[in-house]
Symmetry: C2
Subunit: 364 residues, 2 copies
Amino acid sequence: MRIEELDTPAVVVDWDVMQDNIRSLADYCRKHGIGLRPHTKTHKIPAIAKMQVQAGSKGITVAKVGEAEVMAAAGLDDILIAYPVLGLSKLDRLAKLARERKITVGVDSMEAAEGISEAAKRAACRISILIEFDMGMHRCGLQSPEALVNMARRVEELPGLQFAGIMFYPGHIWDLPPDQFPMLLEVSQKIGEICEKLRQHGLDCEVVSGGSTPTAYNSHLVRRLTEIRAGTYVFYDMNEVGVQACRLSQCALKVLVTVISNAVAGKAMIDGGSKTFSGDRLISGDKTGFGYVTEHPEIKFVSMSEEHGHLELSPSSYKPRVGERLSIIPNHVCACVNMHDQIYYHRKGIIEGMWTVEGRGKVR
Amino acid sequence: MRIEELDTPAVVVDWDVMQDNIRSLADYCRKHGIGLRPHTKTHKIPAIAKMQVQAGSKGITVAKVGEAEVMAAAGLDDILIAYPVLGLSKLDRLAKLARERKITVGVDSMEAAEGISEAAKRAACRISILIEFDMGMHRCGLQSPEALVNMARRVEELPGLQFAGIMFYPGHIWDLPPDQFPMLLEVSQKIGEICEKLRQHGLDCEVVSGGSTPTAYNSHLVRRLTEIRAGTYVFYDMNEVGVQACRLSQCALKVLVTVISNAVAGKAMIDGGSKTFSGDRLISGDKTGFGYVTEHPEIKFVSMSEEHGHLELSPSSYKPRVGERLSIIPNHVCACVNMHDQIYYHRKGIIEGMWTVEGRGKVR
């Protein structure tokens, strides 16, 4: 079947572009001796996680216990849940997983660490702990090296736990023009300070887990970093284009849509809105629009209802007919994939298969 | 099981509040002799659609063929797909449905009408057509009564189709303080004009389908309206509170979350972000925030990552501990429900069951 024959809206991945993205970051990490632990929240598809591992990833990252279960059931191992696990039900599921797989959890509170310790004790297993440090995003993470070291010492004493190192998420560092390199130097210094303080207390900081897609190819500038958790790089999207983390041609995922109405002058409606693309706005570049219309980049995707995408035609002489098909690169690919039960993949326009988004909806 | 024992994040509906919402609009419609055809996109759950029908709805509305299939499979009949159906695959599924159920489709182009006619011919069935008119939202719909009448005459001649009337979506009319009542008068006049012109051409306008939740209880002010398609009223949400379409106590659906981090001063993170609530912003009231924290309304839900909700604590002396639970009313309940595979329902705090969101993900 050719792409043109797919019913719309449909999410389609260009296999070759995706493979290039996977290979390219794996090669970079190999060259610089940095581990790659891709965040699989972007695709939530075990088959893609396996490709990432085969290309050289040391393990994977997930956000939720339910996502870890899906990945483990498909045979993946060495899973970092980069998210505090709280609540009896989730903790018991976590411990059950940890009896069969190498599981690490990122936390920033003793409440979370103590719950995990109790669960590990009940299940007679060991769970590794990374303590999250706030490098400047101000979302989660301990606020000072001293606080982190204090917590590490307490974690090390809890039964069933093993303090394995630190993690941070540099979500505040989007792009890195040369005048912002000091930001990375600051991160390096902070890591050095934490590792030194841990050493003084006899604690080894085996893992320093950082990274995100926009900063991925600058990871070698951060000293002592042992692994990165980039996720979006597998598909890329308009947010990444906006911060020049990739070129348009590296965007592997598009949403195929059909024009369903052109009754209102100057507008066209497509059969995908926020329930197809997610409602995520563009947070980089010119911060306008809900996606890039590849066939007619001059057209603006100006707003969305749940099932309607609103295209503004005025900058163009082009007026699409009802039934015409367009393909659109989403703003935020992780959120877009999460709206769908299945996504297709193609090579040179021929649909070669479909993946079930197995981790979708695993909110717990 | 009590609500407090549910693992989070979890979406929970207060059964009694929902029943009141269903009954109240059904009573209003009965009193004024207006048909109610609730838009089931809000819940996508056949069991709730059946309650709406039992309360007096004449049929239901859906947005996609896939949603119609789910509802029909559960036994629902008289289904309006308020959305142009395009593409061979969807058209054949539509015609198959129409052999077993009363199906009506809303369209605004001859391309859509012709495709439906062809499919109806192939399947030897009849499909009713509503023609959409643009009452001022400028999304879809014909632009003049003349254009609508011309299209109705052409539709009436197509095999397999039956012109049944008109539909409109007054999405531009949010709230109705007395000085905006002229807007409804304008709608009434336009309907009158269309019906008169249709009559002159020997066409009956049996159905005049309009309405939305914010305008629902003013529907009697629109003359000749035969039915409304309100959806959100079943649960209500903060957008509806913002336009005073409901009181807070009428919001039947809340998202239970757990505080997962309070490491950053002045902030708390909860275990639900855009993949739990949807990324939809508040588009009414003060247009800020991502949900209403019922236990601490003074706290602002200021932003979201995919799996983190960011609470701003500064207006409060309250500092939640890690593990504490909160319940939050979402901005846009239709988009929120659409993120979940299951939602729970309770009566007076006791969980009585769970519904599968069967229509979720039926994007085609």
